[in-house]
Amino acid sequence: MEIYSCERGFSLLNPSLCLLIVVLIVSAVSFSKGIAVSLFVLFTSIILVFLSRRGFWLWVKQVFYVFLFVLFISIPLFFIVPGKVLYSIDLSLVSIGVTDYGLWHALVLVLRTTAASAIFTAVLMSLGWRGVVEGLIGLYVPYDLVLMVGFFMKYVPLFLKDICRMLAAREARLFSSRLDYVSFWRSLISIVGEILLRSYWRSSKLSIALRARGFGVPPHRRYSWKRISFYDLCLVFLFSIVILLVTMWG
């Protein structure tokens, strides 16, 4: 999350339009039935990451983790969806079979989840958190929600730094010659309570800071609409193709 919260986004994109289109694309991919849409979106995500010139391998790593995770949770689908049994596994008491429809369903699930995650991450990397916040303002999302996203952007790196410091402080005082998992987990668990307390402390300070400079007025919403660029039109075109594919192949 910290890596994706880049300072300057891909300035050629209009954040509001980009955000709106990506939400629509993610929805379309998530509810698609075939693999054509997912494959198309996956391919487009790769192009977008290349265009935004951000860490391509970081993006690949993140998408690969999602792929592995979904693959793992889709395993039951191999067996529970009725269809022609391709391979049978004998478990002494019961025999289970991998069906063709099961494999197809698992493939569709894995592909559409991976594609949805890939395009969202690609856009997030292109826009940066700041772009996301600007996009939300432009879309007239309730401002309290926008502020919360802004705070999220602030506190994720801050708490990550806090956790790293706390871990380092604990590890510095772990004197055993071999660092085993039990002692590591013990030190990790002890951080949880402290992080909760710190988050309470920080939120109370934030509330004071807002009151000190808020002057009793709700936070001012400001947004200057960015011009639609060629890249935005490309995104609109991409969205049209996705919709066309969904209409044609489901």
Partner: protein
Amino acid sequence: MDALLSVRDAWFRYPGVDFDVIRGARLDVDRGEVVAIIGPNGCGKTTLLFLMAGLFKPHKGDVLLDSKSIYDQLPEARRRIGLVFQDPDDQLFNSTVYDEIAFALRQLSFSEREIDARVKEVTKLLGISDLLDRSPYRLSFGEKRMVTVASVIVYKPDLLLLDEPTANLSSRAVERIERLIKDWREKGKSVVVTSHNVDFIARIADRVFVMNMGKIIGGGDVRAVLGDEDLLKRVDLRAPFPVRVYRTLGGSDSHIPLTLDELKCSLDRLFKNTERNED
């Protein structure tokens, strides 16, 4: 002339705590003066600043702004008071440095043109013009500190409250803060500073108050307070470097130097007296 801000026998305790963090604090801040509050960690300096900003309300006593209770003047009174937090991470919450500095002005419904002019003016003053498009969370501590100061002085409050402004700063950054405080005083505005850095306090303050365990145990003219080593010892502080050098060399209490320039003059005088006595 009435004081700009007065704390009148204020007592404060945090909810759920069975002891008072501030115990009968009493101090005045006049127009155009720099007041310093010194004391050990946890003695209540920050809480006292929050009381002075009208952010906390004492359960006994009052805080007066222009002789009227600050709590009857809220939230308008906050436009006249600027508070800079000790930890910049507690104060910054906007996505760019520009938005952070412009936040208060937008709350006060300034035009975007005026906001732009003011933001550029303060960032130039503090030497952070190149940071405007950056995210405040990715700056160094010193840069963050400058942004917090800029975000407050941009709306030109009458009273500036600075909580440990020199903590973790390089000597160059401390000099910049020092210059800013002096400029603020020259404009007839007031500043309240909390700090452990007695040498810094010696250079900028007109009056000093010493706090310990929620109480103000001493206060007055900067020379009298920072020259009182017994009082400073009670709060675990040492006298400023020029005072210690001067005392070690046997200087009298009538010309206590607080800055290096003053120390030079005092030593010249001291050595001349010694030579005259020897002759």
